[in-house]
């Protein structure tokens, strides 16, 4: 099965489970959790079932295309279901069957891994799923988002698409994954890992990154105050990506790191508060102290 077939099969499978196939959100982000469909979607009391592919960027993980297992840009497949279905674990295991992985022929284990995102003020309880020893999925019951206690709870299932493909295609390098019968992952993303590695580690303008961070941060506050939480949250994502770039450039000291993370968490919370106030005025929720 080719890389694009995994996406097609997962789309088909989760559409059948009632998920809306939302498309990737066109801004840099470190993980699918930053997608507004996940961030805002988990905050309301309304049911929510979505699935989408999300390209993720982790500047610090880029390795000039030299490391077989690590890249700075890769794909997640994310499923959010609220409230969680009772047999959601089995439904997930069946999704693996849909992409050709039969549990009876493999070892699948759930390793405790309580996920946390200090930048989003989010945390959850869950597992890494190991497929014959390889971590292929993060499975989390969100408990908090933007410091709000969630009710109802959302379950987030995040597949590492490259990991899954390497596993089934028996490839030892991400770039060797067959995207189609003729094209590899490396062909599709030719030059990307190398060029972005230079940018992430050497070229990105530190002063620019810092000053943009500050400007956007201020803008988020103004926008959120007016109730424009959607554009405000775009800027939160940009701040978060700038933070990751600064980090890759080695420009953040230990003490500054904590400060910057808190600044992002605070503006994410401002967006969440605006959203909740407008969409769920009756709830009168207060964010927990975080």
């Amino acid at each position: 099965m080719n890389f694009q077939d995994y996406i097609l099969k997962l789309n088909q499978y989760w559409a059948k489970q009632g998920c809306a196939l939302i498309q990737p959100y066109d801004l840099e982000k470190g993980a699918g959790t930053f997608n507004p469909a996940t961030f805002f979607g988990s905050l309301t009391s309304k049911p929510n079932s979505v699935a989408y592919v999300e390209p993720c960027r982790r500047p610090g993980d880029a390795r000039f295309g030299e490391n077989p297992n690590r890249v700075g840009r890769y794909y997640q497949y994310q499923v959010i279901i609220k409230p969680p279905l009772e047999n959601i674990q089995q439904i997930y295991l069946d999704s693996l069957k849909a992409v050709g992985i039969d549990h009876a022929e493999h070892d699948i284990r759930w390793i405790e891994d309580d996920w946390e995102s200090p930048t989003l003020g989010a945390s959850g309880v869950g597992w890494e799923v190991w497929l014959d020893g390889m971590e292929v999925t993060q499975f989390t019951y969100f408990q908090q988002m933007a410091s709000y206690e969630l009710n109802p709870i959302s379950v987030e299932i995040t597949y590492g698409l490259e990991r899954l493909a390497m596993f089934v295609q028996k490839k030892k390098r991400i770039s060797d994954i067959m995207w189609t019968d003729r094209l590899t992952w490396g062909d599709v993303h030719k030059g990307q890992e190398e060029q972005f590695s230079h940018y992430n580690f050497e070229e990105a303008d530190i002063e620019n990154l810092r000053s943009n961070f500050g400007h956007w941060e201020k803008e988020v506050r103004g926008l959120a105050a007016k109730g424009y939480y959607l554009p405000a949250f775009d800027l939160v994502m940009k701040c978060s990506h700038n933070f990751n770039l600064l980090d890759a450039r080695g420009a953040i000291s230990v003490s500054e790191r904590a400060v910057l993370i808190k600044r992002i968490r605070d503006i994410a919370k401002a967006c969440a508060s605006a959203y909740v106030e407008i969409n769920e005025p009756s709830e009168k929720k207060e964010p927990a102290n975080a």
Partner: protein, 691 residues
């Protein structure tokens, strides 16, 4: 008729480390609640896997035990009037209990005397009803290190509960909790598709699960796992190292053990073996394999959950993951080996140790200086070159690529990189053993050089935190300072370092940055002393004996000397005169404390009025020279005997001489006399501490 009762809480994969405590709690709460409900049973057992917690009650009767309830009424004399008729009070009480006065009895109750009593018999009720109340309460009481919510009622539990099986014999025990109604359904092994299972009776549960490839009982599962591993060892003619901790962890990752064994490339054995162990045991939970002599062999054993279909897939998958991690490690390790140590050391300047305490480079410089100071101050012959070389690189491995990936190897890798740089074996070991001892009883650095470097690190860390006021209190000790202090004490005692810790601590404070200038030498010395007290007490000395040398320690006495003194105090305690002299000394100290007079120094012999004063002073003068000689020769047993020798004149003095005389001159002179005696005692040990 006695039957079994069974509760199975089926949950989504619960962390291995939660299960054992949950089993204990199941048993405890079940016992409490059964007792409250008057429901006896023959046995209470609990079992667990990663997806079920099971409570098994055996020999449960069909009904709870009948019990009698007594209600007390008015005084017994009010039962009947003079004519022998029941009184209105008696009739009223009987009516209120739904009976007639002729059924009332009489009983003597403390403080009330004889009163009317009525005994109601509460009949037993069906156990299935009682269990329907007990089971949900047991579930609600379970506590876990961390809980979550997942459904509407927001019930909190370690992981989502997915079904509840509850049976008394073949009858369902019906209740609801967390939005789930109990029944007789569960599922089998996950790898076989979690097939639904209907359990016909509590007695058939374990067999039914076994047929569905689930070994519910922990001990049986462990036994199977051990057998499998032993069989593999035999087949391979090698030893699969069945580390108990790893066995227990694997036990709660599976419901039916199947071993997966494969080899990996011999090349990876060139990696430091600590690293191989870390990757295999900690990260992947695989067992290591060794030859008969304990030499690591290129094989691993992993445990999979329940089926042996597709065994080749799993072998290959496990092997790929293992080798990918080894390759990663190799890549970092080889890169690190090619880079000079000095280059890594330079990077320490970019790592903050703690705000106000500078970088790790600053900390390294402090450790280097302090180690040099300790070389001079410890009185032991040392190879100073090794100390200097090692101290310079104690933190260097922090910046290496491998330690950034495998932080647990901090310290251990320091040894390999130091050796690779051409450092002597002793100095390299000193780097690798810098963080030792890792726990209260674990080994100390293997050389005196390593001990000094490790001690320097500990004293700097302690002084740093104390300077910032981060002093452990109660159970709060985030930086593990108690362990550091205990390590320091053990290093000093077991290496025989004759060290003035007061000066050493002072040197550690002296070199802290100006921003961390809070000097807390006394609190730190006292903190270290408290650890020393524990060590001394563990060698069999009593706390009050240990306390006799605390003052001596606080004023700069070395710990070995303290130990010698305590030892002799302990030995002399059996002497019949000892208690007396200790009492007299305590009395002398009390007089001095209460007098609060400024003392001028040695007594003036011309001011003595009584023979007893003169005699005592004569004895003191005669003895003090000998005492000093014993003390400087560290012969405290003889020193203490000298002190005992003046017991006679001291007793006479206290008997005949009134210290607080009217004449201030005479009084002060007597106080000076006592003072000179107290000083002599204190030069050996503060015997007033003895209880």
């Amino acid at each position: 008729m006695l039957k079994d009762a069974l509760l199975e809480i089926r949950i989504e994969n619960i962390p291995a480390r939660f299960v054992i405590s949950a089993e204990e709690q199941l048993k405890k709460y079940a016992a409490e609640l059964l007792a409250e409900a008057n429901l006896p049973c023959a046995g209470i057992e609990a079992y667990g896997t990663y997806k079920r917690l099971v409570l098994h009650l055996t020999g449960v009767p069909a009904k709870t035990e009948e019990k009698t309830q007594k209600s007390y009424g008015p005084a017994a004399r009010l039962l009947k009037d003079e004519k022998g008729n029941f009184t209105p009070q008696a009739a009223g009480f009987a009516r209120s209990r739904g009976t007639t006065p002729d059924k009332l009895g009489v009983e003597t109750v403390p403080n009330k005397g004889e009163v009317l009593v009525f005994e109601t018999r509460i009949p037993g009720r069906p156990s299935v009803k009682a269990l329907a109340e007990i089971f949900p309460q047991v579930i609600s009481r379970l506590q876990f290190p961390k809980n979550m919510v997942w459904e509407k009622s927001r019930f909190r539990f370690a992981r989502p509960i997915r079904s509840l099986l509850a049976l008394y014999g073949d009858k369902p025990v019906v209740f609801s909790i967390a939005g789930i109604k109990s029944g007789r359904l569960t599922v089998g092994l996950s790898a076989k598709g979690s097939r639904p299972l209907k359990i016909s009776s509590a007695e058939k549960y374990f067999k039914a699960l076994e047929h569905a490839n689930v070994i519910v009982k922990d001990a049986e599962r462990l036994e199977m796992l051990r057998r499998e591993i032993a069989a593999l060892s035999k087949r391979m003619k090698l030893v699969v190292e069945a580390d108990p901790e790893l066995l227990s962890e694997n036990l709660y990752l599976i419901e039916y053990p199947v071993c997966v064994m494969a080899g990996y490339s011999q090349d990876f054995l060139k990696l430091p073996h600590e690293l191989v162990h870390l990757v295999m045991k900690k990260q992947l939970k695989f067992f290591t394999v060794a030859d008969a002599k304990g030499g690591l062999q290129p094989y691993f054993v992993g445990i999979r959950d329940g089926v042996s279909k597709g065994q080749r897939n799993v072998e290959e998958g496990f092997k790929n993951v293992l080798e990918a991690r080894f390759n990663d490690a190799f890549f970092f390790y080889n890169r690190d080996l090619a880079i000079p140590l000095a280059e890594f050391k330079a990077k320490l300047a970019a790592i903050t140790f703690q705000a106000k305490l500078g970088t790790m480079a600053d900390k390294t410089a402090r450790v280097e200086k302090l180690a040099a100071w300790l070389c001079g101050g410890c009185g032991a012959p040392l190879n100073k070159e090794d100390v200097t070389a090692a101290a310079a690189h104690v933190y260097t491995d922090l910046t290496t690529n491998l330690v950034k990936e495998f932080t647990e190897l901090q310290g251990i890798m320091g040894y390999y990189y130091a050796r690779n740089s051409g450092m002597s074996e002793t100095a390299s070991r000193a780097v690798g053993e810098f963080y030792w001892p890792m726990s209260a009883k674990s080994p100390l650095p293997s050389s005196k050089e390593g001990a000094i470097v490790s001690l320097a690190g500990k004293l700097d860390t302690l002084a740093s935190d104390f300077a910032l006021g981060q002093i452990p209190s109660g159970s709060e000790d985030p930086h593990g300072l108690r362990r550091q202090a205990l390590g320091a004490v053990r290093i000093i005692l077991e290496n025989g370092f004759r060290l003035n810790l007061r000066n050493a601590v002072s040197a550690a404070f002296d070199q802290l940055p100006a921003e961390a200038s809070g000097r807390a030498a006394d609190p730190l010395l006292d903190f270290i002393w408290q650890r020393a007290e524990v060590v001394f007490a563990e060698s069999g000395y009593r706390f009050d004996e240990v306390k006799t040398v605390r003052e001596f320690f606080m004023s700069g006495g070395d710990l070995l000397d303290c130990r010698d003194r305590v030892k002799d105090v302990n030995a002399l305690r059996g002497n019949p005169d000892f208690a007396g002299i200790a009492m007299a000394f305590k009395r002398a100290k009390n007089i001095l404390r209460q007098a609060k007079a400024p003392l001028s120094g040695a007594p003036d012999e011309t001011l003595f009025e009584k023979d007893e004063e003169r005699a005592l002073y004569g004895d003191i003068k005669a003895m003090s020279g000998r005492l000093q000689a014993h003390v400087s020769g560290r012969d405290y047993a003889k020193g203490l005997s000298e002190l005992l020798s003046i017991k006679g004149s001291l007793d006479n003095f206290f008997e005949k001489v009134m210290v607080m005389a009217e004449d201030p001159k005479v009084r002060d002179n007597r106080l000076n006399l006592i003072k000179s005696l107290v000083s002599l005692f204190e030069g050996v040990a503060d015997l007033s501490q003895l209880q």
